[in-house]
Amino acid sequence: MTKNNFLFEPIEKEQAQNQEETSYSSVTYWQDVWHKLKQNKLALICLIILSILFAMAIIGPFISGYTYYQTQLSLKNTPPNATFWFGTDELGRDLFTRCWWGARISFFVGIAASTIDLIIGVLFGAIAALAGGKTEEWMMRFADILYAIPYLLVVILLMVVIGSGIFTIILALTITGWINMARIVRSQVLQIKQQDFITAATALGASKKRILLQHLIPNAMGAILVTLTLTIPSAIFAEAFLSFLGLGVQAPIASLGTMANDGLAALRYYPWRLFFPAVLISLTMLSFNALGDGLRDVLDPRLKT
């Protein structure tokens, strides 16, 4: 009976306090997002594909040893083989190099255009929502008016005025492209600014600028990121589409769109000339969209459990 008596002795005070010392580590928001995104297999695969495409867009043009503008008329329209992995076009240019060069242009246009969209859209939308009242009304009606102008018309006008080229395309895409972002950010900020922590920040003396940059925009980041991952592919596609119509970059620079356009005419006899650029466009679009979808699942607070 007396054997286990020590178990029933009062616990030392010091020991009791030690129990309070739980191991404590804080998971940041983005660590949490990454953890959840990893569960989504499709989004993860798309992220890997995008990384590969991105890496190839950087190093791809240097692999085959040919340049995108080097013509070899004797080797024109060669089907894919050991030397020309994707074949050659009607001037004997290496399609492998040209495809990755085109991907580089497409990525550049897509990312540049959506970055500009992002900056203008986020600031415009957030400032409009924060300002409220008449200012907001005027800003958003201005955006509506811009939105109402047919997009192709703007593009063609710009081409006429400043000539075609990469920067014209980027300008054409951003002139109306930021409005979507601005609207989404505005709607998010309108919700967030009603929350108590914004009042609390104001009550403790935070300035409008600080509230905007430190409190409103970080909390709208989820929606911004999702919109961004959907803006990039639409910009890439718009570039390809404009190039396909002949409004894009000029020869000898290739973009995936111009190459698809060139390949279309020869589809019957030399199908690889359309196939490779088309596959790259589709893969990029699909990956970005699926990734955006995966991100939405992770970041949308309403879907959070």
């Binding site: 309070e20 010392e21 404590y24 804080s26 998971v27 940041t28 928001y29 409220g132 009242g133 929350q195 108590d196 922590f197 009042t199 609390a200 920040a201 104001t202 009550a203 403790l204 003396g205 935070a206 300035s207 600080r210 430190q214 409190h215 970080p218 909390n219 980041m221």
Partner: protein, 328 residues
């Protein structure tokens, strides 16, 4: 005599709504002295929050109309520019809120949130020193392991801990006045007691004056020195805590105190309440606002807006029964 910090004179708050103008605060007068705790008590919708928010002009900008004087150290805050107000908010007059769950930015660590508020008012302080101040503040409000918690996000903390962080946030710049808008309403009772003790402790340490809004009479009895009772946008009685609880004068206060449930009350006895509802402040009121619910109402109550009578020294009551013409 203690120094008068804040002097509110004839403050009116009006909100424009789709159904007309809502006169939420209908001319209130009160002062806050150095180092004291003043309680504002009243039922929901009587204008407590609107009045307290008006002190630092936190009411929605486009729909609120403020009138009167809020004198802080002799200057009328209602005439301050927005930039001047920013210098007052947090540094001179700070505020804590009802729901600690939503009053902290979920995307910032608690340490950075306090640091941010501090840096706003003391931009020249070196970062390392500001960090030490923040850690000291966290320790003072009873956050265990402040070094580790500095990098914690709000969602990893419990409600009571978050309210402690809120208090640290509000007091980091050593304000002279702390406005507390129902700081314990969203917490459970044991945590409530801890937070109230913390407020009392902080006040002893720093000498901050506290203006505490609540609808809980026991909170008032626990922490306040002086009480203002609000009804329908007016202060209808003000007195020291002891006087108010022992000799309430206004019929509303009397009924409010009688409505507190008692532990020794027999179980089968119904809880007391005040019948009826407070008046809708969109309509302009004639006579005493409490008249329709008052058991002692007289004919005059329907016609005349009761002025404030000084019943005793420092004990004010706005009821016509104190009028010299009343024979009772």
């Amino acid at each position: 005599m203690k120094k008068k910090l804040l002097d509110v004179k004839d403050l009116h708050v009006r909100f424009s709504t789709s159904r007309g103008q809502l006169h939420a605060v209908r001319g209130i007068h009160f002062s806050i002295y150095e180092g004291e705790t003043v309680g504002i008590v009243g039922e929901s919708g009587c204008g407590k929050s609107a009045a307290v928010k008006a002190l630092t002009r936190l009411n929605p900008r486009y729909t609120t109309h403020l009138e009167g004087e809020v004198l802080y150290e002799g200057n009328n805050l209602l005439n301050y520019s927005e930039a001047q107000m920013r210098g007052v908010r947090g540094k001179e007059i700070s505020m804590i809120f009802q729901d600690p769950m939503t009053s902290l930015n979920p995307t910032m660590t608690i340490g950075n949130q306090i640091l941010e508020g501090y840096a706003q008012h003391f931009p020249s302080t070196p970062k390392a020193k500001a960090r030490l101040t923040v850690l000291e503040m966290l320790r003072k409000v009873g956050i265990p392991f402040p070094e580790e918690r500095f990098n914690a996000y709000p969602h990893t903390l419990s409600g009571g801990m978050r309210q402690r962080v809120m208090i640290a946030l509000a007091l980091a710049c050593e304000p002279k006045i702390l406005l507390a808008d129902e700081p314990t309403t969203a917490l459970d009772v044991t945590i409530q007691a801890q937070i109230l003790d913390l407020l009392k402790f902080i006040q002893k340490e720093t000498g901050t004056s506290i203006l505490l809004i609540t609808h809980d009479m026991s909170v008032i009895a626990n922490v306040c020195d002086r009480v203002l009772v609000m009804y329908a946008g007016k202060i209808i009685e003000s007195a020291s805590v002891e006087t108010l609880f022992s000799h309430p004068q206004h019929p509303y206060t009397q009924r409010l105190l009688a409505a507190i449930p008692r532990l020794d009350q027999p179980k089968d006895q119904p809880l007391l309440s005040i019948e009826g509802a407070p008046p809708n402040l969109i309509h302009s009121l004639k006579g005493c606002s409490f008249c329709p619910r008052c058991r002692e109402a007289m004919t005059i109550c329907k016609q005349e807006d009761p002025p404030t009578f000084e019943v005793k020294e420092n004990h004010l009551s706005a009821c016509l029964k104190h009028d010299a013409r009343c024979i009772r």
